[in-house]
């Protein structure tokens, strides 16, 4: 078996594996989402019934009926036009592609250690700047995971006409191609196993120039002055730069901004956003981090919300409040402080549970939502009244004769 055929077989295997793993269910994603929603609602209905929450059960059941009806309609429509699953292109097509690559680029090279196929372009000249030929690499692993190509498409410059370390206006110092407009079409060629199109698209990209998206403009190619730097974030070469004192790096004018608290200029890498108010912050104004999610908080938001028990700062999303008195707690304190009352009213702190409004007016054998209790553990001695009790009355507390009495009020 010759090399081209072996490579075609291997690429076809990669594409087949990817297609097999991404189409396990064989259900369009929209239907899959709807089916999951129905399953969740069904589970909620069952739980509500188990807990005797009649109102909640009714609401969720209504949603479930509506969702099942929508699912049925979508299934009816999709059964008329069933989506065709992706297919691997087949060894014959890929083999033909590899032979066409040979015809287009003269030859290809196979690096069995790195698992890459590479071709060399003709010398490239952009706006009269000779950049020389480039070797384009295709990693066969990208056929298994096409989205991995977004940040790992590499070329080697055979000529050494670099400017600020860049061999091409759209290639980084490390040889990484910034795909720009080609990002989706490159991914699609890998999904479809189209080897020839992959190399042709990259060849056309290397033969194109966009001044707005270049690392180094061709107008100043090779003329880097002493005052020129490469932006620490995006890599753009510029002489008009900002120096961030927090991280000791220089940045272009697109990669820094001001702190919305103190107005200090700071690079995008050091700048964070307050989780609660979304203001951008310099490291100095990042007063605290939310105890539960670890996201940054500004001074005002860190002071505004905090756990009543351990005083830790919390963001708006993570704070947990008692449903009775709205006292805020962090996650760990809420797990000990907040709980269900014995009458099943949920989410109350210990103070509110002791003075639960419903416990004082509920009927014997009745839970928080007015449903008869099903669980024997709630039929505690406190609610039991001897004889035929009047609904709502609880037995008087027994006062011991020998108890100490208050000097002031004689209670």
């Amino acid at each position: 078996m010759n090399l081209s055929l072996r490579l075609a077989t291997r690429i076809n295997d990669f594409v087949e594996q990817r297609v097999a793993t991404t189409h396990v269910l064989g259900l369009p994603s929209r239907l899959h989402t709807r089916l999951q929603s129905c399953m969740i609602l069904h589970s909620k209905t069952r739980k509500a019934r188990e807990k005797g929450l009649a109102v909640a059960e009714k609401i969720v059941h209504k949603q479930l009926i509506a969702d099942v009806s929508r699912l049925k309609r979508q299934l009816d429509v999709s059964s008329l036009n069933p989506p065709e699953p992706d297919k691997a292109p087949g060894v014959r097509d890929i083999y033909a592609d590899i032979k066409a690559v040979e015809a287009e680029f003269g030859e290809y090279k196979w690096d069995h250690v790195r698992g890459t196929l590479s071709v060399t372009t003709d010398p490239i000249t952009l706006k009269e700047v000779p950049l020389g030929p480039f070797r384009i690499h295709l990693s066969l692993e990208h056929f298994q995971n096409p989205s991995a190509s977004d940040g790992s498409t590499y070329v080697d410059a055979i000529n050494s006409n670099f400017s600020n370390g860049h061999p091409h206006p759209h290639v980084s110092e490390g040889g990484h191609v910034c795909l720009g407009d080609a990002i989706h079409s490159i991914r699609k060629t890998l999904e479809d196993g189209r080897v020839l199109d992959y190399f042709i698209i990259l060849k056309q990209l290397l033969n194109s120039y966009d001044a707005n998206g270049a690392y180094t403009p061709l107008e100043s190619w090779g003329q880097e002055g002493e005052g020129s730097i490469s932006c620490g974030d995006c890599g753009y070469d510029t002489s008009d730069y900002f120096y961030c004192e927090h991280c000791d790096c220089a940045y272009c004018d697109e990669c820094y901004g001001s702190c919305e608290s103190c107005e200090e200029l700071v690079c995008d890498t050091c700048r964070t956003r307050c989780r609660s108010c979304d203001n951008s912050l310099c490291p100095g104004c990042n007063a605290d981090n939310c105890k539960d999610c670890g996201r940054p908080l500004c001074f005002a938001c860190a002071q505004k919300v905090g756990c009543d028990n351990c005083s830790s700062a919390l963001c708006e999303d993570c704070v947990q409040k008692c449903v009775g008195c709205s006292t805020p707690y962090c996650k760990s304190c809420a797990s000990t402080e907040i709980g269900d009352c014995k009458c099943e009213k949920p989410g109350q702190c210990s103070g509110c549970r002791e003075n639960c409004d419903f416990c004082e007016v509920r009927k014997p054998g009745e839970s928080y939502l007015g449903q008869p209790k099903e669980h024997p553990e709630f039929e505690d001695a406190e609610t039991e009244v001897f004889g035929a009790p009047t609904p709502g009355f609880l037995p008087e507390p027994v006062v011991q004769e020998n108890e100490e009495k208050c000097d002031t009020c004689t209670a």
Binding site: P169, G180, D181, H184, S185, T189, I200, S208, D210, G213
Partner: protein, 74 residues
């Protein structure tokens, strides 16, 4: 009606079947797909080979159109 595989390498990189009329040339097919564009803006291949605009498309042909200019980024 015959069907061909049409691969458009511009933008999202669409690839799918397209219907053609009897005797339709690659030039008229291009004008239908890109009414506002010039053929010189694209590399046009049929069955992986460059062809003349007068080439008459056949059933199951594979037509690839790749833009000449593809902007990269930084």
């Amino acid at each position: 009606m015959s069907k061909i595989l049409f691969i458009n390498n511009e933008g999202g990189g669409f690839a799918g079947d397209a219907e053609i009329r009897e005797g339709q040339t690659v030039e008229t097919f291009f004008k239908e797909k890109f009414p506002d564009r010039a053929p010189s803006d694209f590399l046009i291949r049929v069955n992986r080979e460059a062809v003349a605009g007068s080439y008459v498309l056949q059933d199951k042909d594979r037509v690839t159109m790749t833009p000449i200019k593809i902007d990269g980024a930084a």
